[in-house]
């Protein structure tokens, strides 16, 4: 059947399922509604701006609008400006392109009572100012939802404002430095060309003057942060990298000012601004990384509900999430998000855990199953007993974890700072020694003074030692490579808590993996199918019934049918109903108007409808029946993850021995290990034994990396050199692990190893470059062979090499 585009979202669907309206096609009621709303409000130019791009169909959201007008919400998120207007910071969900921003802003501005509404396209954050006498916040949110988007509030006061201000501040300082340095470089080209083609002293003086004017804001405005850093360092009795950068720049600047005002020689304003600019660009990248981390954090935080319904003495009470105690009974309605972790005691439902694990398929949960905070109840009412307070619940733990990683400085940076501390002292000492030797003993040693005074020559040589050693390359060697490595890793859904794990991961010799959740995934696949009636029309009905559900079992069987039967088509089913935790029911009318009752689901459903069909299996079961006659049965089981075989063979190729530790029985473990190519398997092992096994490997001198997901892996994870938690893992395993795999795939795990090895290689190369550079140039500078001019040029070159070398991590 041909596919047509939805007139609102532009996504393509089979023509049979489209809602038709003369020439128009809509994939769902939501799209239809938004389309007409935009037409009515003369906002149809949205579609011109959208062009050929596709957007997400309108989000289905629950009717929780009242919470936006509650006092607890106002207390946390709403502020008042000087004019008496209310202000709120929101994160808008569903924004895909500039046209979405345009539409949201336009609709909001056209609403009476809204004073200001600006949405940031980069992070989808919005600032709304409104007159509370004319409109309520819930009405504003309703407006946003009516055009197919959704909004969550976040508290910008905590981190966002600070990060935004820091980003803006560094951006301006960096741009001033870049602007001035570029102009100085142009003037310098003229000056250096003049050395070969001839230049009058007046023109040279003019160039020096121009350079002076341009470099002054660079050193005192852009470079201010280095002076500040050096000051705080000195206050704490630490000579840090900032000190060396600012000392080198200041000395060179002062010397150049003397040259400008009459002293004989060359000025080095260009090297002053180069030093500042280069290091500043590195710092700006760091600030940028922090800002995007804050944005991610705000998005996660905005998902946390503020209030929840408790059942107390048979009555429902709304309480703030902070007041929930362990043992309380929480009622979770359809469309509600769990605010605390707990265990289901009543009801069954599917949960969307995407905010925790990134997995888009909903997970079916029944009594005694664990509910994680931040997950969304999708179909029916459940009650659960709280097992953790809000503070210790999954979502809040993830937030705290991320906040901690933002606040803590990577250990590798500590190390680099320590090196630079020693380096700074050494260079300053060498420089002073050089000056003293040149000034007092130069003549005895037969040094060449080029006809200038002793003091001047000694000063130039001493300055050139500082300038040449200005540790741009050293300062940039590790952070630039780590930063590029970590951002590359983050793009692939790999969160590294500290940069040092790049190094550890690169040096891994043993990789220990858990079976369930690491090598196999929670996704079910059909292991046995019995089609009792192969009539294609009947299978079409099964296919259509499966198509109307997003349940993992339905999705897996649909996939199976697609792979095994060609020419399946979708039929028009009516009265499609989801029977919670049992399956689905629908009615089909054929051309002769004859009705068929269609059922698909588990044993319970079949029994409920009075169909006598016994089906025993250890696996999950799906039975399909038409008019009470069973047509097909399916058995489903957990399957081995894609890419598992390639991942194991890649590890072996890189001399990483893969070991599987599992609590499962020997047969299953052997089967899985054989399938993926793992040679060492230890089955029937408990969590403590897992940890002991890892400790033994460590004692043998191996660098051990452990990848796991369950609570049972947490002890082992904490024993390994580096622990990797699969994203859908339990909160405890995420808490003790060093790296979190957001998308849970082995391909990303493989990428973690590949990118880490690559980054580590480049860090080593960078350190070697700067070390060799310093070893060659510092003695030359001390001996007076390197003039500050050449020192500045070569220093810039070494920094450029380090930056360019690090950028190669992104390649391939």
């Amino acid at each position: 059947m041909s596919k047509v585009k939805c007139n609102h979202c532009h996504l393509e669907f089979s023509e049979s399922i489209m809602i038709k309206e003369e020439e128009l096609n809509f994939c769902c009621k939501g799209c239809q509604g938004v389309y007409h709303l935009l037409q009515d409000q003369n906002l149809d130019s949205f579609y011109d701006k959208l062009g050929n791009k596709t957007i997400q169909p309108p989000l289905e959201v629950s009717s929780d609008l009242n919470k936006f007008d509650t006092q607890s919400f106002e207390k946390i998120y709403v502020t008042e400006d000087e004019n008496g207007y209310k202000k709120v910071d929101l994160i808008i969900e569903g924004i895909h392109c500039a046209a979405c921003i345009w539409l949201n802003e336009k609709v909001l501005y056209n609403t009476d009572g809204i004073i200001d509404a600006s949405i940031n396209f980069t992070n989808n954050k919005a600032k709304i100012v409104w007159n509370s006498e004319k409109i309520a916040l819930s009405q504003i949110i309703e407006k946003i939802r009516s055009i197919g988007y959704n909004a969550f509030a976040y508290n910008s006061k905590i981190a966002d404002e600070k990060a935004s201000l820091a980003k803006r501040d560094y951006f301006i300082r960096m741009m001033v430095a870049v602007f001035a340095t570029m102009n100085i470089m142009m003037l310098s080209v003229a000056k250096y060309t003049g050395f070969f083609t001839g230049i009058t002293p007046e023109v040279r003086h003019l160039i020096h003057l121009g350079e002076f004017i341009l470099s002054t804001p660079v050193i005192f405005y852009s470079g201010w942060i280095f002076y500040r850093g050096a000051y705080y360092g000195l206050k704490n009795r630490i000579l840090n990298m900032d000190f060396l950068v600012s000392a080198g720049a200041t000395f060179t600047y002062i010397y150049s000012v003397f040259i400008l005002f009459g002293l004989k020689g060359e000025s080095y304003f260009d090297s002053v601004s180069m030093i500042i600019t280069f290091v500043l660009v590195g710092k700006y990248l760091e600030v940028l990384g922090k800002k995007s981390a804050v944005d991610t954090l705000d998005t996660i935080k905005s998902q946390i509900p503020l209030e929840t319904t408790l059942i107390k003495d048979g009555k429902k009470v709304e309480v703030s999430v902070e007041d929930i105690q362990i043992g309380d009974i929480v009622e979770l309605k359809t469309g509600d998000k769990a605010s605390v972790d707990g265990i289901i005691i009543k009801g069954e439902s599917s949960f969307d855990e995407s905010s925790i694990s990134g997995e888009s398929l909903p997970i079916y949960k029944k009594a005694n199953d664990v509910i994680f905070s931040g997950t969304l109840n999708q179909d029916s009412l459940v009650q659960y007993r709280v097992t953790k307070t809000f503070k210790d619940s999954t979502l809040n733990s993830i937030v705290t974890l991320l906040e901690d990683s933002l606040a803590s400085k990577p250990k590798i940076e500590h190390k680099a700072n320590e090196i630079s501390k020693g380096f700074s002292v050494m260079i300053l000492t060498l420089s002073i020694l050089t000056f003293l030797v040149w000034y007092f003993f130069g003549i005895d040693l037969g040094f060449d003074y080029d006809g200038v005074s002793h003091f001047e020559k000694s000063f130039i040589v001493a300055i050139s030692v500082i300038v040449i050693a200005c540790p741009c390359a050293l300062a940039l060697a590790t952070p630039i490579a780590s930063l590029i490595g970590i951002s590359e890793l983050a793009k692939k859904g790999l969160l590294f808590k500290e940069a040092k794990f790049i190094e550890e991961l690169a040096r891994t010799t043993k990789l220990v993996v858990d079976k369930t959740g690491t090598i196999t995934n929670g996704k079910l696949s059909v292991v046995k199918a019995q089609i009792l009636d192969e009539n294609i029309h009947k299978l079409d009905l099964l296919y259509s019934l499966l198509d109307s559900s997003t349940h993992p079992i339905s999705t897996s069987i649909k996939e199976y049918l697609k792979n095994h039967y060609k020419n399946l088509s979708l039929k028009n089913l009516s009265n499609v109903k989801t029977l919670q935790a049992k399956g689905m029911k629908a009615i089909y009318k054929n051309l002769e108007d004859k009705e068929f009752e269609i059922l698909g689901g588990n044993q319970k459903l079949i029994e409920e409808f009075g169909i006598k069909y016994k089906f025993d299996s250890q696996n999950s079961v799906y039975i399909f029946a038409i008019n009470k006659k069973v047509i097909a049965t399916f058995e489903l089981k957990d399957e081995i993850k894609d890419f598992a075989r390639e991942f194991v063979s890649d590890c072996l190729k890189n001399n990483i021995d893969v070991i599987m530790l599992t609590g499962d029985n020997q047969n299953v473990a052997n089967y899985v290990a054989k399938e993926v190519g793992i040679k060492t398997v230890v089955a029937n092992i408990n969590p403590i034994q897992k940890a002991k096994y890892i400790n033994k490997l460590k004692e043998e001198g191996h660098t051990v990396v452990m990848a796991g997901d369950g609570v049972n892996d947490s002890v082992a994870l904490s024993s390994a050199n580096v622990s990797i938690a699969m994203g859908n893992g339990a909160d405890i395993s995420i808490a003790v692990s060093d790296i979190v795999l957001l998308n849970n795939s082995l391909e990303s795990l493989n990428q973690a190893f590949i990118i880490s090895r690559k980054t580590y290689k480049f860090i080593k190369q960078n350190l070697a470059i700067s070390l060799i550079y310093n070893l060659i140039t510092i003695p030359l500078a001390m001996a007076g062979f390197v003039m500050p001019l050449i020192a500045a040029l070569s220093m810039s070159l070494s920094s450029l090499i380090v930056v360019a070398n690090s950028l190669r991590i992104k390649g391939k």
Partner: protein, 75 residues
Amino acid sequence: MIDSTLLMMLVVGLVVSFAILGMFIWGAKTGQFDDSNKMMDGLLFDSQEDLNDAVSRENKKEKDKEEQKKSKPKN
């Protein structure tokens, strides 16, 4: 002669450059460069209709502020 021309060029060049830099800093300080993606897509939003919209938004803000001021003394 050449030197005075050069001096003049240098001065004009620096003045123009610093003026542009000043405008840039003003833009950055007022948050116009905070959203890099929106800035890049700015071209999509400068039709006559969009510019008219921008003016009417400003007018609406002013009107609302005046109303707010008027209503305040009564309270």
